[in-house]
Symmetry: C2
């Protein structure tokens, strides 16, 4: 009789309905999650959820674009060299000839991917020192227009001392970024090199310096003692060739898809573990409430994280299979759901990181973000307690500079209602009717969604 539980979305902060760009009102499209037109590369990316055929591109008479939330900085950053005009070939040649080449690790390459598609808009590349300092101290960066955009985790590239000295001795301003087999991926230009104080970076990002933080061990402990920032230009879109690339939709592709469906609200939900019935209740209930508020076509962005995760998290390929199943079985409505992969690596930095998760979804067009208990949290690596207060993520998110435009949907608890014999929102006035895992209070605190 063990049941799962989840925290479901409340509506403490809700926006007015967005306006539309077109005058002609059209009915919401009823197109399944199946194909997304890529404005950028002119290709079609088929989603293989197997739930519907691709919608014909010409199948709609009026291309009425809903006004999606504006990306941070006003314009979605795109750092992929265009094929047109020979730019891509020229960059490839230059990268092959540049005397200084930095080899990217797995996580570095994931950040190149993230940056190149504009998830971190308005960042134009790996952070220079002024961006790094603002991130560490303020979780936000002031743009050229004076406005703050949220930026809570450092997106930085390290370099060792010997290479740093060689670059500086040459007075180089551009370096090539290469993969593990020395193949050029990108060029970093107008570079700036500054000290990598790892202790300070870790303390300010995680609120602890205890040994055993997964991201730190993967990407910081053995990293170089210097950081190199600059403007990034990548030679071609990052691919993983793992059978999941069709799920890796860029913010531009997602925006295109939301516009094609005439979404007038996009609510994003990130899981790093499999979906279960509690989540499904949450997501369908959220859509229902948005409809009740007057939105005509709220679309769910079901957006599992695809980058580095710790060893005991469920692997991406399993999670994607499970997400497909949920759609195939109709637990979620494919017509109002887009499943895609968020390419960021995972910091497990709790209240600091959840801001990044939310901010990146603004850039992908989401104006609602569902936040659960202890988002991006984990157990303390050396003490018998959770690393973060389970409520801090939600609280910090709701107060974060640069996220004022995003509607935060804090969860309400769902559990198995033994009277109604179904998953439902937990009602504290008849708490004995509800069953969490094994019906214990302990499980209430340990069972729930891991975001």
């Amino acid at each position: 009789m063990a049941m799962q539980a989840a925290f479901l979305a409340g509506f403490s902060q809700l926006a007015a309905q967005p306006s539309r760009d077109c005058a002609v009102a059209v009915a919401p499209t009823r197109v399944a999650v199946a194909a997304v037109g890529s404005a950028k590369v002119g290709a079609r990316v088929g989603l293989k959820a197997g739930i519907a055929a691709p919608a014909p591109a010409a199948g709609r008479g009026v291309r009425c674009r809903a006004s999606l939330i504006e990306p941070d900085g006003g314009q979605l950053v795109d750092l992929v060299a265009p094929e047109e005009g020979g730019r891509r070939a020229a960059l490839r040649r230059e990268a092959a000839e540049l005397p200084h080449r930095l080899r990217l690790g797995r996580v570095d390459k994931e950040w190149v991917h993230v940056l190149s598609e504009g998830w971190a808009s308005p960042l134009q590349g790996f952070m220079r020192e002024h961006e790094f300092l603002q991130t560490l101290h303020f979780n936000a960066i002031r743009g050229q227009d004076g406005r703050m955009v949220n930026m809570s985790v450092p997106i930085v590239l390290s370099v060792g001392d010997a290479q740093r000295r060689a670059i500086q001795a040459d007075g180089a301003t551009r370096v090539a970024l290469v993969d593990e087999r020395d193949r050029p991926i990108a060029v970093l230009s107008d570079i700036e090199i500054y000290k990598h104080n790892k202790e300070e970076r870790i303390a300010r990002t995680w609120g602890t310096t205890a040994p055993g933080l997964p991201y730190v061990e993967e990407a910081i402990t053995n990293a170089g003692d210097w950081l190199i920032g600059g403007d990034l230009e990548i030679i071609e879109p990052i691919k993983y060739n793992d059978g999941l690339d069709q799920y890796r939709l860029s913010p531009a592709q997602l925006r295109e898809e939301f516009a094609r469906r005439n979404a007038d609200a996009v609510f994003a939900f990130q899981l790093r573990n499999p979906v279960h019935n509690g989540h499904a209740l949450l997501m369908t209930d959220t859509r229902k409430r948005l409809l009740e508020m007057g939105y005509k076509n709220p679309v769910l962005l079901l957006h599992p994280l695809g980058g580095f995760t710790k060893a005991d998290d469920v692997p991406l390929s399993w999670r994607m299979k499970q997400h497909e199943k949920v759609l195939e079985e109709g637990v979620l409505n494919p017509e109002s759901t887009v499943v895609a992969i968020f390419p960021s690596p995972m910091h497990y930095a709790g209240p600091t990181e959840v801001q990044w998760h939310a901010k990146a979804r603004i850039n992908a067009g989401a104006n609602f973000y569902i936040v659960g208990r202890d988002p991006a949290g984990m157990s303390h690596p050396t003490e018998k307690r959770d690393l973060y207060d389970a409520d801090h993520g939600k609280k910090v998110l709701s107060m974060a500079p640069g996220l004022e435009r995003l509607n935060i949907l804090p969860f309400k608890v769902a559990a198995y209602d033994t009277k109604q014999k179904k998953m439902d929102f937990f009602d504290p006035s008849r708490k004995d009717d509800f069953l969490f895992i094994s019906g214990t209070k302990v499980s209430f605190h340990s069972c729930c969604v891991t975001l």
Copy 2:
């Protein structure tokens, strides 16, 4: 031939001249630093620098108040119960009878002092959780008007678990704050109790959790595991009876003094060690440049920190004696200098803390802040290096949310010019002419002003 060196103010960010509240233009007053009218208590506080007689209050025909910079939140917070109307006596009676009494340590009492006079405006008392979280994550708090005010160090009061349980069991909403001899000092009302995660607080404030941080050892390590926030009302102004109380001018008293002098620019300079000739050059040069810019009467707020400092810093009483000497001997012009004590305790939290030092001076009326090398810095407690990058303080300060209105004056280096035979700004094009301590490069990095 050992010479001292200092970093002197450059003018990278300068404001336009402030407007004045009155139509009648008057010459700047030429009144010595000697007496400050206290708007609040109606008393006069005599400065004992011995440099001039108090200016008669009626000595100026036109009380033209320069437009000083607005305090954070628009209004200077004042948490001292007024004597009028019996409020003070009533609060004293209530505090004596409240069942829950929290005993304040030395640093707690200094914070009560700081809060009560509005240095931390718009804070109305010890931080509640939403203020604490914003401080840790954003170094800034969003006010009721939606604007961010800077707030970089937590101003919090801890409580132990037994007392926390007792307070909560009673459902108490008000507690008395008492001194080491159990005498009531203040009442904290509409209280909120939340967890004191010391590790996270330390990591996010200092960027390290290394043992040996002076403030941590003094005020956090043995503090309670809970924090208690609320609205503060203090029974009477905090006094120390150490012969220096006349220097402890509140922000209101300082503003009154600046207005009385018709200051149209106030530039603040904080030292936690004695003034030397390099500092004096810095301060007179700053005034000269402000005059050249068109300000009619820039006034220096020479503002040593008076609260908790680490054991090897020079004691406050010595520093004040030395500050008096500098004025007596005419090294600084008493007519354009106000010497007062900033009552805050010292965190030694570098780039995080310097924001607090600057923000508090806005509340006291300063619109220029002089920032030196490695402000609020110290040696790493366990490693052979400085805890902070010497340039980060200046950089972080110049980018900090909520400090946009403050003009940051970064230092230029001064050293002994052997050709001119006087202290002067360091000129790298003839660097061999300049002498730092013992003429070594090492001393250049270790000699300088400690801010």
